[in-house]
Amino acid sequence: MMVEKATPQVKESRRVRRRARGGLIVCSFLLAALSALPARAQESPYIVTYDHYLEEPGNLEVEYFSTIGTQRGGNNFHAFWTEFEYGAKAWWTTEFYLDGQTTFHDSTLLTGFRWENRFRPLKQEHFINPVIYVEYEQISEADKIIKEVEGHDVESDHADPNSALRREHNHELEFKLLLSKSFKGWNVAVNPLATKNLSPNNPWEFGYAIGASRPLALKASPNRCNLCRENFIAGFEMYGGLGDAASFGLHDTSHYLAPALAWNFPSGWTLRLSPGFGLNDNSHRLLLRWGVSREFSGFGEMVGHLFGGRR
């Protein structure tokens, strides 16, 4: 079979078509997001810990989070990430993350992506509610969002300049068991985690996150209001590493305690704030986190219609 060599004009034309197709897909998703209605969720204040509540089916939640961290032996940093969380089913939520960071007096860079899935195996509420969490991540060593702490992660890992850190890339699989219970307005969640770096000669690493939270009022007021106490949920998180398969335990690990507050607006926006304090010398002294999110209902349906589904 003869293969005709593509001329520069043909190549250019293909490139333009590819870009147009990509642009069309991006525009379609944006259109779908804009066409979807904002929905109000009762979001927890946790930034690291997960409770057992999944995204409502068909809804898309778009979230932006930011972590400003102090760094001994290096420059302070601002790490940030965007999450797109979609409720595929009432028992399955899938989420895509894009991570980046700015190290002050150094540079700004995108550091990778994550794809997580959460599955609820049980049909009803139980004394403790388990959810299975599976994540694949492809990030560079320059990633500083510290969304989870695992193994022997310590502050000094982040001290090198970005030019050195960005050369190392990690492909990781992460598994968590999300255990959570709500009782008399309180939510308590415990998340043990295990991570496997898929690069050679890396052992399984372990970590944990725990959290507790409660709305400031358990009863709704009859009026629509932004400042009603029921719109605020306060709590705390604690998270840290537990070593790895070769050296399990608390030595050479970092740990954090973080009060957390969420403000759920009736308009569908949620604001979160959480200053995290390092609990030992291996931890960053301060991780000041905040985030903003908005949930859109009917996103899945809108995308379905855009790609030929029936109304």
Binding site: Q124, E125, H171, L173, S182, L198, P215
Partner: protein
């Protein structure tokens, strides 16, 4: 650092497992669509109401005599429920009407139990993230709505 292909196998397996799950989901949706071509009187059934434990059914609404409860419940309904069940609880593509006799004649305890536990396999999430008093307020609001007659829902298993 170079990535060892052999060690990437778990990632591939995970991707395959999730792809299989998506494929299963599509085939399930297709099967439902084929079944839905048969003539039907009502898309939704209310079978979950019959499965509520007796102890939960017997619970009384602590907000029964609270004059603010219907208004507070109405606000909560608009914020959390209307997107699936319709602005006036008349039902929508994602959720059944809550004006039907089956719902209106259910005890407050039955409705709170359904709210707390959801009907997860049928698309209704658990709502235990709302504090219990808010769930009772919601039920109080639902029971102020006008009931509409049943349309002989088809029984689905």
């Amino acid at each position: 650092m170079k990535t060892n292909i052999a060690l990437l196998r778990p990632a591939m397996l995970l991707a395959l497992a999730i792809a299989a799950l998506i494929a299963l989901d599509f085939s399930f949706a297709l099967a439902q669509k084929v079944n839905s071509d048969a003539p039907k009187k009502d898309k939704w059934d209310y079978a979950a109401l019959a499965k509520v434990p007796e102890k939960a059914r017997a619970k009384h609404n602590p907000f029964e005599n609270d004059p603010d409860a219907p208004a507070a419940g109405g606000k909560l309904f608009e914020q959390h429920c209307a997107e699936c069940h319709g602005k006036n609880a008349e039902g929508g593509k994602k959720g059944p009407s809550l004006l039907r006799e089956q719902v209106q004649q259910a005890t407050p305890g039955t409705l709170v139990w359904i709210l707390t536990n959801g009907v997860v396999r049928r698309g209704m999430p658990v709502w235990s993230k709302l504090p219990e008093p808010e769930r009772w307020q919601l039920v109080r609001y639902l029971q102020t709505l006008q009931s509409t007659p049943t349309l002989h829902p088809e029984v689905r298993h």
